[in-house]
Amino acid sequence: MASYFIRRILWIIPLLLVVSLITFGLMHLVPGGPWDREKALAPAVVDNLNRKYNLDRPLWEQYGLFVWNASHGDLGISYSSQDKNVAEIIMRGFPITATLGLVALAFALIVGLGLGLVSALRQNSWLDYLSLFFATVGASTPNFVVAMVMIIVFSVGLHLLKTGGWGSPDQVIMPAIALGLTPAAFLARITRASVLETLSQDYIRTARAKGLSERLVLTRHIVKNALIPIVTVLGPMAAYLVTGSFIIENVFSIPGIGRIFVQGIGGRDYALIMGAVLFYALIVALANLAVDLIYGVLDPRIRYS
């Protein structure tokens, strides 16, 4: 088990290297450069800037320098605001994006698992059909459309919530729900299918025949076994929460990493782009690792394979 863990962690390093290589290559294919302004700078100024940031060196050398610095935790200075360094910018935006992501995840888990479970236990009741309907609609409505509808209803119509910004707890509600709705719907469907399948297993029948109370059957047998397919989708779901946060941060003007990243691409801020992409890739890789570990805990068959 420990060796599996270590092996998976070590795998992240070549992963990040390849991701950074691809990103570096793609970034330098984007037309324009970091010093493009509306009024062009004097060529001498541009030359000096390039020399200072090593942009005049051959590409492979730039990449090597980047990897070397990055492994020491130095992600460089942001080109668009040259007094801040990239690591600092990312760290400032990270707690905000993380809060949003975690609240959305919590919402998705509670609503999704709850609805799915209830739906399966009361199959074909009106509750079942209602949650299936919600699941389908929620899964196919884009998150920014949900966000807009919520803004129209709660801010414009009912004047209950502010349209955006960050700082007070009530500003988390709409963005988190908008972000978490699609995962919630997805989770509801998968939970329902998984619980239904678990319910039809022989060992459930045995447990009931042994005389176990329904509550014990639920907690001791159904939950753990039904959880396995659900955990499988949590990895891609984490990736979805990460990328979805860009858009939601944009809609609600939340100062998280997503917005910073989009601005960085617009301004060809190479250092910022590289830093943000690597950071995101790391988060997604760690989330997948966590999911794999939970999977190993839940399903003994995986541990011994």
Binding site: T136, F144, V149, A239, F246, G266, I273
Partner: protein, 285 residues
């Protein structure tokens, strides 16, 4: 003894699909959308990019059933032409995804050994790349024409299909009919095309059908952030972005395209669900 009339997987699947009301509903809406997209110039009452400053931000009226936007353009016409953009992007991304995914998946599945290992590691790495980031980067390189957008989205999304194709080929190539074909002297290529691919196609079709709403969403999200299709080509996503600024006074500018996107995605999802259930050979009735 009761004998069943002979039938093939496809005919069976079609029959099952036809019985699934939600899938048929979804399919009908998809058909309507495709027709709208194809005949957009004939159906739209106005030119979608023509600006009319005498009728800026007018609500729904007789002349403009869905109102006009901030530049005086008719919303209904823009919605109709937006359907063209969305359907084009949705379908063509899947073509790209199929081309790349099929090649890589089939090569990996058939070749085995180090080639397969290498290709699958590459696939895993691409899978770890957050897809929206990749699309944004690619779009910044390729520019904002409709062609380039679907290439970008396709390049970010082939992984699932590749994995699917490889999985299918791995499980199918041990089948008896493949062994028979090989012992009769069929070339590898012929086996692939004649036997493996047609049988592997079921789940791939389902994946592609589900991929369409994903691509439509990606295009809308890109346009919403502002780096999607270059204006003035109408796109539902950019309509939402434009309309957002007037959301307090004129929420319909955001609602119509939003509803359009949601409805489109939902229809394709229903259709995909139906296809998946219909093509599942275990449910032969």
């Amino acid at each position: 003894m009761l004998a069943r009339p002979p039938t093939s997987l496809w005919r069976d699947a079609l029959r099952r699909l036809a019985r699934n009301r939600m899938a048929v509903g979804g399919g009908v809406i998809v058909l309507v959308l495709v027709i709208t997209a194809l005949f957009a110039p004939l159906l739209a009452p106005y030119d979608p990019i023509k600006q009319d400053y005498t009728a800026v931000l007018s609500g729904p009226s007789a002349a403009h059933p869905m109102g006009t936007d901030g530049l005086g353009r008719d919303v209904l016409s823009r919605l109709i032409f937006g359907a063209r953009t969305s359907i084009t992007v949705g379908v063509l991304t899947q073509v790209v995804i199929l081309a790349i995914g099929l090649s890589i998946g089939a090569t990996a599945g058939l070749a085995g050994g180090r080639t397969e290992n290498l290709l699958m590691r590459f696939t895993d790495i691409m899978y770890a790349f957050p897809d929206l980031l990749l699309i944004i980067l690619l779009r910044s390189i390729f520019g904002g024409s409709v062609t380039m957008i679907f290439v970008a989205i396709g390049l970010a999304g082939w992984v699932t299909v590749a994995r699917l194709v490889r999985g299918q080929i791995l499980s199918l190539r041990e089948r008896d009919y493949v062994l028979a074909a090989r012992s009769l002297g069929s070339s590898q290529f012929r086996i692939l095309v004649r036997h493996l691919l047609p049988n592997a196609l079921g789940p791939v079709i389902v994946a592609l059908t589900f991929g369409i709403p994903g691509a439509i969403f990606a295009e809308a999200a890109l346009s919403y952030i502002g780096i999607g299709i270059s204006p003035p080509t109408p796109s539902w996503g950019s309509m939402i972005q434009d309309g957002y600024q007037a959301i307090f006074a004129f929420p319909y500018l955001v609602l119509w395209p939003g509803l359009a996107i949601a409805l489109t995605m939902m229809s394709f999802t229903f259709l995909g669900d139906g296809l998946r259930d219909a093509l599942d050979p275990r449910m032969r009735r």
